[in-house]
């Protein structure tokens, strides 16, 4: 019998007070349900989360590191795109 690896899944957890799901790591599982169970056991043992997303790693399309220059450099000198020139009133809260 050949030993086949289970597919790789990326895990995203939304924490107790977190506003969004964050990538926490990856694991192996046979399907989505199994991946959520494994994520529960591997990544929420210390009460880290209230919600779990998993996605099969093969389904993630990623930008290529070799295109780093054309992809990101043009944004570097456009400081006016950062909202650092505005005074934000305190009672606006988290943005």
């Amino acid at each position: 019998m050949s030993v086949k690896e289970w597919p790789l899944w990326e895990v995203f957890i939304r924490g107790q007070h977190g506003m969004s799901h964050r990538h926490v790591g990856s694991l192996h599982a046979v399907d989505a349900k199994h991946a959520i169970k494994n994520a529960r056991d591997v990544y929420t043992r210390r009460n880290e989360g209230v919600s779990i997303w998993v996605v099969e790693a093969a389904h993630i399309a990623a930008s290529s590191p070799s295109e780093k220059g054309p992809m990101y450099d043009p944004a570097r000198d456009k400081v006016y795109r950062h909202p650092t020139f505005y005074d934000i009133p305190d009672d606006v809260g988290k943005m």
Partner: protein, 250 residues
């Protein structure tokens, strides 16, 4: 022995013995994810043990602690089901046993939540959340392996056949059970059989496994009359530290 103490030992020893057996997988499970999941399960069970045996020690009133009950009693004092003390053998048997036990624990703990004894009700409520997750996980694994390859199906069927003579003990009522039922502390174990059987049948069907027809049941674990030869070996490992260094603490 007081019936309530006896009853609490049965609950605590089931959790302790299965918890220890499950912990034997730590570092050796077939996949990292399963290793962590099994270790979590073991820790859940040891946590439940602390609650049950802690209360048992109070009820006994003999100045013993939960630790004393866990680490300084010998085989004949244990009150766990025989099914829980047989060796893990392989991943399939470990999960099949977990499933057969979880399918009882969930309705059992659900019923204990309305116990006339508030401490029993509290421990049951806390343990039930864990047991519900354990059942979810063990049932799915039984189905995955049963409805897997020809090899995994054959091994799961063999392990079900092996464990089947041990399941009957769960539902054998005795004087202690009757006393607990009369005091409204716990229902009779036999009353849990229909709902347990429904879970088992449904899961076995999904797992392409056939339930053995024999009603033969080994017993003697819950009553402490006769354990299998395996419990002594397990306790030797589990208790060696407290036996060698009495009173050792972290």
């Amino acid at each position: 022995m007081q019936p309530l103490f006896e009853f609490l030992l049965r609950q605590g020893d089931n959790a302790l013995v299965l918890g220890h057996r499950t912990s034997e997988w730590c570092g050796t499970a077939p996949a990292l994810e399963e290793d962590i999941a099994l270790t979590n399960t073991a820790l859940d069970l040891i946590g439940q043990t602390q609650l049950w045996l802690g209360y048992a020690a109070e009820v006994e009133g003999a100045d013993r602690s939960a630790n004393d009950l866990a680490y300084l009693r010998d085989v004949h004092d244990f009150r766990n089901l025989l099914m829980l003390e047989v060796p893990n053998e392989d991943f399939g048997r470990t999960l099949m046993r977990q499933f057969l036990f979880d399918a009882f624990q969930v309705p059992w703990l659900t019923a204990l939540q309305t116990s006339a004894d508030p401490r029993v009700a509290e421990i049951a409520a806390k343990s039930l959340k864990e047991a519900t997750y354990h059942l979810d996980r063990s049932a799915e694994t039984v189905i995955a392996l049963g409805d897997g390859t020809a090899d995994s199906n054959a091994r799961m069927q063999a392990t079900l056949d092996y464990l089947w003579p041990y399941v009957g003990e769960i539902f054998v009522d005795d004087d202690t059970d009757q006393t607990m039922a009369d005091a409204l502390i716990a229902p009779l174990p036999s009353s849990m059989r229909p709902v347990w059987a429904a879970t088992i049948e449904e899961t076995a069907k999904a797992a392409c496994l056939s339930l053995p027809e024999s009603d033969f049941a080994h017993h003697g674990g819950r009553s402490g009359v006769r354990h299998t030869e395996h419990l002594g070996h397990m306790l030797a490992t589990m208790q060696v530290l407290q036996r060698s260094y009495p009173g050792a603490v972290w």
